[in-house]
Each structure stands twice: as C-alpha cells, then as structure tokens.
Symmetry: C2
Subunit: 191 residues, 2 copies
DNA sequence: ACTGTAGGCCAACGCCTGTTGACACGCCAG
DNA sequence: CTGGCGTGTCAACAGGCGTTGGCCTACAGT
C-alpha cells in the first residue's frame, strides 16, 4: 500500500513544501472558501498555476495540506489515573504550536470533505489510542466521541471563537478543569 | 434604546420574513461565504436586489438573521442539583428544533463578525443565567466558558461534523454523560 | 380619479475566483 | 553540442459574486 518505491527527490521539493506551508496557514486562518489559491501562491512566492500543476486543484491541495498526525502518546504505558491530564496537555500543545488543527476545525465546519477528514482522524487516531483504556470494548467509540467533543469544544472557544474567559485561562487551569472530565468520559462507569 | 415608536406594519413584511428565513437556513447549511445573496433570494422567491434594499448589504443581512435568543430558563428557581441536566436538555432542544444555533456556530468559525456575535450571546445570555449558581462571583465567566465549551463541542461533533458515535447517542445518553460535567463546571469547588 | 410612493424586477457593473494553455529558462543525459 | 524535461511565468478564459440604478406596477391618501 504505502510503498512508493524511492522517495525520488525532485528539484521542486522546496516549492512544494512552501506551497503546503502557505496553504496550511491560509486554511487555518481563513477557512476553505476564503483561502484562495492566489493568496496561497502569493505567500509561497510563486505563480498560482504551480499550485494546480503540483496538486491538481483546490481540493487536492486541501487534501495534501490537511494530512494530519495527532502524534498521540501510547496511553497503555502510563498510570491509568493520569490519562485525562496527559491527553488534555497533549492537545493543548498541538493546538498552540502549529495551526493544522485549527485548519482542520475551520475547514471541517465549512466543507463536507473537511468534515469527513475530521471523522477519519477521529476514527484512525483517537479510537485506537482510547481502546486500551475503556472498561468495555463496545463503549470505546462513544467514550472517545465524548472526549473529542470536550477537547474540540475548548479548542473552539479558546483558539477559534476566542471567548475571552476561555482565552484568559492559563494552560494549567485548562488542564485542571478538563482532565477530570476526559478521565471520566474514558474510564468511569457509564452513568 | 429598544423603543421603535410604532412597529409600523409594512406591506413588505412577508417578503422581509421570507428573506430572513431563507438566510438563516442558508447560513446554517453553508456558512457565511457559500451562502450567497443570490441563493437566499432564490429561496425566498424574490430578486437579489430586494435583499440589498431591505438589509443594506450581506453583513447587514447576516446581522439581522443571527439575532439569537437562547431562551435560557431561570436557573435560580430550581433545585441546584438539576442545573446540569436542565441546561444540556435545553440546548439539545434548541439545536434540534431550529437551525439558528448551527448557523451561529458555522458562521462564528468562518467569519470574524460571526465570532464576535457568538461572544456577545455568551456574554449577554449565558453569563447572567449562570451568575446565580456559581459559588464565587469572580469565577462566573470562567465557569460559564467551560460549560459553553462542552456544549458547543458536543453540538460540533453531533450536528456539524456528524461524528458517527456522537450522532448515534440518544438524547438521554447525551444528557446522562454531559449533565455531570456541566454541573461540575458550574457548581463544584475549583480543582 | 389622480398621483406619489413603496414594492418588485431586470440588466448591468466591476471584481475576484479556479483553472487552462502557451511560452521561456536552465539543468542534465546523450 | 543538442535535445528534452522539469520548473516556472504570463495572460486569458468563463463563471460567480456583491452591489447598483433604472424602470415598471399597483396600491394608498387625498
């Protein structure tokens, strides 16, 4: 499946990367519709037609720009009581140090393909990690969805809508409040 | 302030209402950019120029269409232990029976003015209602923001992104899981 | 009955969009 | 040295957008 024979380094790799960087930034800041190919090309310092040559069309560019790896830690290898805090802390890091997640959220809300992409990340990355820590296997998807709802909701309030009290909370305060919630969603007995 | 002397019924009230209905639907379904004035006018069965005549421009139309009343119940008049369940249940109702909230969420994410509108609703409608139930007055904004983050997060997962496990939960399951979270955010001792 | 005005439609504007095709440069193989 | 291919620019396209102004129609006040 994932076996492109040699990576085959091309002379244009720098340009491709510049386009991708600019695209991620624009998609994160403006959402799918307002992030124009022309603006992305301008940011990358090249002609709009290069974007088409390398990524086919706007959808292809978005697909390439929203290749996301949450880099979730292995939860099995740590004391069960810290799972909530570790997850919240990890997501705060990811959200603050790069704008792919903001882009994913913004585009997921505006664009059907974007929403599917979010669902895919949820299914392929969050589900496996939470599988090991939930009491009953059949409850895993539901519990993961609950956890995701709280994490995305805080990201929405804090990084996208910028609701002042959510922005003003320190990182540690956010963790202190959210960790017990995530902990309960993933590990506590069903209500 | 809110004293337009007579309501002054106009012959065009039906048209105005049709435009507003169509606008709310389109903004909810498509977000700010994709919801075009032409499409809204087509839905309302009139000419695009009528929209301009009555609402000035697209921003004015959006401002009129996103006049939101959460219709939050008085929390002071009920047993303190039920606040979480009542709030979650109320928001589920609002979200399912009318698409203004979805519109608000979608536009809040794509549009700066939309985000400000969400913050305004938070400040003017959620804050006052939660003020009566939090232990310390100075914690009210933070606690309300936490509750908002969980409620918006679930709405995002369930009604916008349509993450399958979040969609599949019954209304009662959502309440059973979320109510204790909201309850804790609003009333429990700070962590 | 006459007239002013509000309600409504139509055609057009200037702008910006995604996308395309033709053309120019420079590297590398033969 | 020469040809081809990869990299890049430029100019243009068709279509959609928000917005504007002119014109027609029908009702309301006198």
């Amino acid at each position: 499946m994932t076996s492109e024979p040699p990576p085959a380094p091309r002379r244009s790799d720098a340009t491709r990367a510049a386009i991708l960087d600019a695209a991620r930034e624009r998609f994160a800041a403006d959402g799918y519709d307002r992030a124009t190919i022309r603006a992305i090309a301008r940011d990358a310092g090249i002609d709009p037609s290069m974007v088409m040559r390398y990524y086919g069309n706007k959808e292809g560019l978005f697909a390439a720009a929203s290749e996301i790896d949450l880099r979730l830690p292995e939860l099995g290898a740590m004391p069960g009581r810290h799972i909530g805090a570790v997850l919240v802390s990890h997501f705060l890091d990811r959200w603050e140090h790069d704008d792919v997640l903001t882009a994913m959220l913004r585009v997921g809300v505006t664009n059907a393909a974007g929403a599917e992409r979010v669902v895919k990340v949820f299914r392929e990355q969050l589900l496996p990690v939470t599988a090991g820590v939930c009491p009953l296997p059949e409850e895993v998807p539901r519990r993961a969805a609950l956890a995701a709802s709280q994490i995305m909701g805080m990201a929405l309030a804090r990084y996208v809508l910028r609701i002042p009290p959510a922005v003003d909370m320190t990182r540690d305060e956010v963790i202190a409040w959210l960790a017990p919630t995530i902990q309960r969603y993933l590990t506590a007995a069903a209500p």
